[in-house]
Symmetry: C2
Subunit: 264 residues, 2 copies
């Protein structure tokens, strides 16, 4: 089976033009089929502020009301996505910007209102909501899909969706067709034993160790959904999941060790 | 040869949600290969105003300084483009949002500074700057490309490009591969003999008549680039060019008469 690298970058890289350019240059040099998934970044909040849109957060999650949906559709799907695509084109990578609406690539459900109304937040039920054929078609044209963290509801509305989730469901849906490696890039060198010590990267985490780390509070609240997504992906046939910083991408893609390897 | 309908809509339709929905529903029902090209609309100016960006115009053209480029990249490439794509998906049309950067579809040159510095405005030198193979690839996947009025310079920057020009160069570049029909939708029923009389649609304009209409001042300043683009497209192999209102699209696509037919 052909290899497919799916790489997710977060806001910290997007917010720093120099780091972003260095990362994109590493990404462009990754050979073979690849997909980039990007998050949001502070720019959405700062543009929102200038527009008079106050960020609404509950338990670290953005509440996506109608005006926030417009904001993230503009900033994630337009500004960030197209700037990344244009830069990748300049680096010789034939990128194509995508959201879940484009080619009906990722269909999501508006999160049901329970205690909290998350507004236009989209939950992806699983790989059945990914249009794998379209993505395979794009890859077969030697295009590199670049996904913004947006999906659609099939009824004409965009939805705000977590970028980690998008990376994970893409990996799962494409696992039957490619040997998928999934990389989560974030601001740390990997999952740390000691949050204060950048040199305390845990080289490998399996399910047993993950339970221990959660029980002892070593992994933080922000890390848990990332790791949950990683295990979910592995359980559904993804070959490898790695977590590390952006600089590790070229090493990881070349098969070298970097960051934390997640295994079942 | 397979037929390909390329339809361009302007700001007036985009600014009116009811009209837009009606148009998209007509567009979705057009059978066979098709491409939608959309313009900007007032929403860019109104969001720009809220962001404190003052529109800068010279001779009816927007001057695209750095902050205006960010604005149009967000609004045209994000907000408008994705809303149109999501609505088309809901109507059963497998749309994929595009700018010139995506798949390197349309490469442009930053307009040289002469008397006026237009900033990040992109001029497309001709059909050689269109990556026809990528667009054919997307069409062969039964996707419907939806183009925002943006291109890129190949050096990592997006550029603001007139939507009429984009429609026209796409038509020209694809003319060797498809029987291309190009429709320009705007607020009038067609090119009018008398600007005050909506019933004075000129059914057909050829080059001779066009010269007369220009000499006698019948065609307005805003109409001239549209007609120039139309003739340029016909001279390069486009089968038919028609200009009319959005409601005419379903009639025109079905082969009926509507609006003004431009011929050589």
């Amino acid at each position: 089976m052909q290899e497919l690298n799916i790489i997710k970058i977060g806001g910290n890289i997007l917010d720093n033009p120099t780091q972003l350019h260095r990362f994109l240059s590493d990404f462009a040099s990754v050979s073979g089929a690849k997909i980039l998934v990007h998050g949001g970044g502070k720019i959405a909040s700062s543009i929102g502020q200038r527009l008079g849109i106050t960020p609404k957060m509950v338990e670290g999650r953005r509440i996506t009301d109608a005006e926030t949906l417009e904001l993230v559709t503009m900033v994630y799907g337009g500004l960030i996505n197209k700037q990344v695509v244009a830069q990748l084109q300049a680096l010789g990578c034939n990128a194509i910007g995508m959201t879940g609406a484009d080619g009906n690539a990722i269909y999501a459900q508006k999160r049901p209102v329970r205690e909290v109304d998350y507004g236009y937040a989209g939950d992806v039920a699983g790989s059945k909501n990914i249009n794998a054929a379209t993505i395979q078609g794009l890859l077969s044209l030697d295009l590199t899909p670049v996904f913004a963290p947006l999906t659609h509801d099939g009824d004409g509305s965009m939805l705000n969706t977590n970028a980690d989730t998008i990376a994970s469901v893409l990996a799962t849906a494409l696992a039957p067709h490619y040997e998928v490696k999934l990389f989560y890039c974030f601001e740390k060198m990997g999952v740390l034993q000691d949050a204060e010590d950048d040199n305390s990267v845990i080289p490998e985490i399996n399910k047993t160790l993950y339970k221990e780390l959660k029980d002892t509070g070593v992994v933080s609240l922000g890390m848990i959904p990332k790791l949950d997504n990683a295990f979910a992906a592995l359980e559904q046939g993804v070959r490898a999941v790695q977590i590390g910083d952006a600089a590790a991408v070229s090493r990881m893609a070349a098969g070298g060790k970097a960051g934390t390897l997640i295994t079942l």
